[in-house]
Point group: C2
Chain length 379, copies 2
C-alpha cells in the first residue's frame, strides 16, 4: 500500500512500543510461557477517565502497525489506516486506539522466531501453540499495563473478530462494545481443510526441518508461498477475480508451458513470493491453528447462545455478501445467538465486491455504518 | 470403491484394449505427436448399423476403465460403473459404450511417462501440452478404428463434459447427442487460480526435476499430494464436509500440535497420499492445463452461442446445486447459448449433496433423468 503523503490526513508518524511481561502465562494447551514481550502501537490520547480505549485485534497475517507510518519509512502505512485516524470511523480525536502484535507473531512480539531462554536458540517448533483465548489473556495484561480497566470497544475483522467475541465472554466486565467483522463463531470443515492444505505445504517443505529452519539457515519459502497463494484465493470473491483478471492471457496468447499464462497466475505467484519473503512460517502455522481451535460454543455445551450469555458488551456484527470464506450466514449465527439471549446487537451486511478482504477496504457504506455505531459509543 | 460381487449386475469382467496410431497428430500448441497409443475398453455390442456407440470421456484423474472389473482384480471396479451396464442409465443392452484413456494420461495411453522415441527415455516434461480439442481429434481416430462413423452420444462430467461439448463443435456430423454434466464452457479466474496453486505445488517440489523425475528416480509426491488435497476440497460441498466431518477432533480432544486433529484433516491427507501413490504428476499438470485452455467461445469471437451454432447434436445439460467448482450457473451459460440458437437442449439440476463429485454418484433423480433422456436416443 502506498500513500500520497501530501494529502494524507491520518494519524501521521507513529512508533511501536514494547511491553515486557514476566508473570508466567498458562496457555490453553497447558503449556506455560514463562515471560513474553508484546509490541504495540497507540493512536490518539487516553482520556482522564481511561474510558476511551479501543483495542484493534489483527487477523492471520496482521500485526500492531494498524495506522500511520514510520518516520524512517513513510510508505509503510498501517494495515487498517483507512479506518483509524482523526475523523475516521475509529476516530482518534475521540478514542485512544491500541494495536498489538499477538503472541506467537513475527513482528516483534514473542513468537517462534524469538529466543527461547531455556535453550538460547530460537523457539522454532517448540513455541507452544496458542488459542484465541491466550491472545485475549495477553491483551488483558497489556490493558493493565496501559491502565485500561475497560475497553470502550474491541474491534476486529476475521480472526480479529474472533478475539473481539472471545473478549466479551472471557472478560465480560472489561469490554463495552465488540465489533465483529467478517468473522465466524467457528470454522467449518471446509475452512479447516483449506488451513490444513496450507499447513501441509509448509510442514512437508524439505526446508522446514521440523520447524527448526532458523538453525539450519534455511527457510520453507516454497511451502509458505503455496500457503499464501491458496489463502489469497479464499480472501477474494469469485466475481472480483473475474472482473480483475478474467481469463486474460499475460502475453496475449498461450505459450503451452508452465510459466505464467494468465494474469491471475501472475498475481497469485507475486502475492505468494512477497509474503514468503517476510512472514515467518512457524507463525503462519500457529495462526491457522488458533483459527481451527476457536469455538466458544464448546463452553456452552455446543450452544453459542449459552456461551455468549455471560457477555455484557453491545455488539456490532458486520458481514460482506461476496465473502465466501466467512459468509454472512456465519455472522448471522452470532447475531441469532445474541438475539436469543436478548442481548444488544446491530447487524449490517454490505455488497462490497472484495470478498473476505472487504473488511480491509474503505467501502463508503461499510465505513459509514462503523462511524455511526462508534458515534453512539459514550466515553 | 468396492462392490459385493455376489449381487453385482453390471457389465462384469472386462479387459482393456490398445490401439496404435502412426499417423502424426498436430496438436493445438503446434507440436506434432509422431505416433501414439490409446488404451480403451468397450461394453455392450456395436450393432450392425454401427449406430449405437456411446463415448464416455473422463475427467481430470479418470481413465478408460469406466465400468466392470478385471478378472484378476475384481475389486477394481470402473469409475462410472453405476451409470454403465445392463439396465443402467447408459444401458449396455442397447448401447455399445467406449471408455478411453486420453492422450497425456498415465493409465496406458501415450503420455509423459511413455518412452519418447526420439530419446528412448520417458517424455517427462517434453511431452507436449494438449488441449481438449486434441483429445477429441484422437478420440475421432479411435472411432474410425472401431468403425464408428457417428456416436449416438458423447457423455462426460466435468472435464469430460468439455470434451462432449467440443465434439459437437469440431465434429458436428459425428455426434447425435451430447451429455454435458457438471461442466462449464470455460474456467473462471478462480478455477484457474486453484489449478495454478496445485501446479505450483508440483513444479516447486524439489523432487520434480523439471518434469524429468523418472530419470532421477524420484517422484514429486509432496507436491502431487498437496494438489490432490486442494482439488478434493473443491470437489466436495461445504455442507457435505460439515455433515461428514464437522469439527470432530480425531482423538476426542486437541493435541495442540500439527498431527491430525480433525477428522477432515485425516480424510484429506489420506486422499492426497493415496493419489500421489499412483498418479503421474506430469499427467496431472497437463490435465489441469487442458482445463485452463478450454474456451470454445473464443472461436465465436467470445460468443459461445456463435461457437456452438455449428453443432447438430441434441444436448442434455445437467448440474448440481451444491457444486461450487462448476456451479449450475456455469451449465446454464451453455443452455442459454444453445437456446439462443434454437438448438435442442434439455437442462436438469439436482439437489444431490455431493458437490462437484455428485456427477459420479448414483443419485436416483439424476440417474432417472439420464435414463429417460437415453431412452429417447434412437439407434
Amino acid at each position: 500500500m502506498s500513500t500520497d503523503t501530501s494529502s494524507y490526513n491520518g494519524v501521521g508518524i507513529v512508533a511501536p512500543q514494547r511491553a515486557h511481561f514476566d508473570r508466567p502465562l498458562t496457555l490453553r494447551s497447558g503449556a506455560v510461557l514463562p515471560a513474553y514481550d508484546l509490541v504495540y502501537e497507540t493512536y490518539g490520547k487516553l482520556n482522564a477517565d481511561r474510558s476511551n480505549a479501543i483495542l484493534v485485534c489483527h487477523a492471520l497475517s496482521g500485526h500492531h502497525h494498524v495506522a500511520g507510518m514510520y518516520a524512517h519509512q513513510t510508505d509503510n502505512v498501517g494495515w487498517w489506516d483507512n479506518i483509524v485516524g482523526p475523523g475516521r470511523p475509529l476516530d482518534t480525536n475521540k478514542f485512544f486506539v491500541v494495536g498489538v502484535n499477538n503472541l506467537g507473531g513475527c513482528h516483534g512480539s514473542t513468537g517462534p522466531s524469538s529466543i527461547n531462554p531455556a535453550t538460547n536458540k530460537p523457539w522454532g517448533a517448540d513455541f507452544p501453540l496458542v488459542a484465541v483465548v491466550d491472545w485475549v489473556h495477553a491483551q488483558a495484561r497489556l490493558a493493565d499495563h496501559l491502565g485500561v480497566q475497560q475497553w470502550a470497544a474491541v474491534v476486529g475483522g476475521s480472526l480479529g473478530g474472533m478475539q473481539a467475541l472471545r473478549w466479551t465472554i472471557t472478560y465480560p466486565e472489561r469490554v463495552r462494545h465488540a465489533l465483529v467483522i467478517a468473522s465466524a463463531p467457528k470454522l467449518t470443515a471446509q475452512n479447516i481443510a483449506f488451513n490444513d492444505v496450507a499447513r501441509q505445504a509448509i510442514l512437508t517443505d524439505p526446508d522446514f526441518h521440523g520447524g527448526h529452519y532458523y538453525e539450519h539457515d534455511t527457510y520453507p519459502q516454497r511451502g509458505l508461498r503455496l500457503a499464501r497463494m491458496l489463502g489469497h484465493i479464499t480472501y477474494l470473491s469469485d466475481d472480483q477475480m473475474d472482473e480483475k483478471f478474467g481469463r486474460k492471457p499475460r502475453n496475449g496468447s498461450f505459450s503451452f508451458g508452465y510459466d505464467v499464462e494468465f494474469e491471475v497466475e501472475s498475481y497469485l505467484r507475486y502475492q505468494g513470493d512477497k509474503f514468503a519473503g517476510y512472514f515467518d512460517a512457524n507463525t503462519y502455522l500457529l495462526m491457522t491453528k488458533a483459527l481451527d481451535y476457536f469455538d466458544p460454543a464448546r463452553e456452552g455445551d455446543g450452544d453459542l447462545a449459552k456461551a455468549l450469555s455471560v457477555a455484557k458488551a453491545e455488539f456490532f456484527i458486520a458481514a460482506f455478501t461476496t465473502d465466501w470464506r466467512f459468509s454472512p450466514g456465519r455472522s448471522r449465527e452470532i447475531v441469532s445467538a445474541l438475539a436469543k439471549n436478548g442481548q444488544a446487537v446491530s447487524y449490517a451486511q454490505f455488497d462490497c465486491n472484495y470478498g473476505h478482504d472487504s473488511f480491509l477496504m474503505a467501502d463508503p457504506e461499510y465505513h459509514a455504518a462503523v462511524t455511526a455505531y462508534m458515534g453512539r459509543v459514550s466515553v
